[in-house]
Amino acid sequence: MANKKLINIDVIKKDLMIPRNVDYEQLFTINDNSTGTGVSFSGFSSSILTSKVKQNPNSTSFAATFTATYSDASSGIIKLTLTADQTKALKSGRYFYDVVVINEDKPSADVAGDLHTERLVQGQLIVE
């Protein structure tokens, strides 16, 4: 692993309010500290988002899994979604979530790339 950051960001800290029984969608723009503009994730050879929800950070089971996708990868806009069935399955209360990206930076086809795992967003999730 290269000894440098692939992206220079501050973790977004945001609590989310989620109504039950409805589809839910939340957008985040991940900004580069160096340029002040959205991080271009499209420049990596591979970039995968993932986001889990737990009722207790120490628990081993997950309350839900967001579908995490790029709304605009070149501008650093990511999207978290839960379906109505997923929000229905959540009991009212407080949860915790974060969003993690795994970027692969591969200099050429025959050379192993760098894999970096970075947290993009974290916060609490209040289910109404």
Partner: protein, 305 residues
């Protein structure tokens, strides 16, 4: 590039060392650029120094696998400009407890010429506990293929000269400890020649997906021979059976077939077709990887989603 706002760490041979606290995101890679300056506040030339660091639960705590974790340091932009980067990797943070997630760390600088050691910086490690841990769950949660079966079909790699280096292999094993890697060597003799694929020092640390299986010839299998079938179905080897894939246990695997010259896809065409057919019947998607320089590890060293 180093952040221009990197904290300045004073480093001279007098007084106490600097303190700087680390905020660590659990289940993520964390980097900290530290600008080392002398007593005059100017960049300190670190040429000739080496660095080591530890994280412990508290000062004086004993070294155990759970409360002592190494921190890696390398210079970036040259040692002469006095910037080091401390890294606390994703894999290290998995050992952090979520209850009372606070640790302490220090970095020791060693001057190679004199052996002089001095604490460079120390401080607290405040852990932002993580929720999403990549690769921790079952196959449905394995979004980057942490547990992927990796099969390389390759007859030679220039007697090991084109094989991965020891460092590359160790990085692979550290990053993907659960990936099972298999080397199948198309040969005419029916006997594998490991020396054509790796040098002896690599062979001594290479862990094959075959593990401690000695059923083939009484020895642990590093490289398994397969037929050079030349497209003849009668001569096809059953790669699926050789690797020992259990139907119903996986939905995806990764395959690399060397086509660099000493063999091509035609060399093993029948075995390849048999393998793809068996995988399809078993509901297994085959990720086909490539490498044009006879490196049998690189194709499996990245994301295999």
């Amino acid at each position: 590039m180093p952040n221009v706002n990197s904290p300045k760490i004073e480093f001279d041979k007098k007084g106490s060392s600097s303190r700087f606290n680390l905020d660590v995101n659990q289940y993520a890679d964390n980097y900290y650029n530290l600008k080392i300056v002398g007593s005059g506040g100017t960049a300190y030339n670190l040429t000739g120094f080496g660095f080591s660091g530890t994280i412990r639960k508290h000062i004086g705590s004993s070294s155990t696998s759970t409360d002592t974790i190494s921190v890696g340091f390398d210079t970036i932009g040259g040692q002469s400009v006095g910037i080091i980067t401390a890294k606390v990797t994703n894999s290290l943070t998995t050992s952090f407890t979520k209850i009372s997630p606070r640790y302490t760390y220090d970095i020791i600088a060693t001057e190679h010429s004199s052996g002089y050691k001095r604490q460079l910086v120390s401080g607290d490690v405040n852990v932002n506990v993580g929720i999403t841990q990549v690769g921790s769950g079952d196959e449905g949660d394995d979004i980057i293929g942490q547990n992927r079966i990796c099969i390389a079909i390759i007859d030679e790699s220039n007697n090991g000269d084109n094989a991965p280096s020891i460092a590359e292999y160790n990085t692979f094993r550290e990053t993907f400890p659960n990936r099972k890697h298999y080397l199948l060597q198309p040969v005419s003799s029916g006997v594998a020649d490991t020396s054509k694929l790796m040098i002896s020092s690599l062979e001594s640390i290479y862990v094959s997906g075959f593990g401690t299986d000695t059923s083939f010839n009484g020895s642990e299998i590093k490289v398994h021979p397969v037929n050079r079938d030349g497209g003849s179905a009668d001569n096809a080897s059953d790669w699926f059976d050789i690797v020992g894939i259990q139907t119903g246990t996986i939905t995806k695997l990764a395959l690399f077939v060397d086509v660099s010259g000493s063999m091509t896809l035609a060399t093993v065409a029948a075995s390849y077709a048999k393998f793809i057919g068996t995988c399809t019947d078993a509901g297994i998607t085959v990720r086909q990887e490539s490498n044009s320089v006879e490196d049998w590890l690189e194709p499996f060293s990245g994301i295999l989603a």
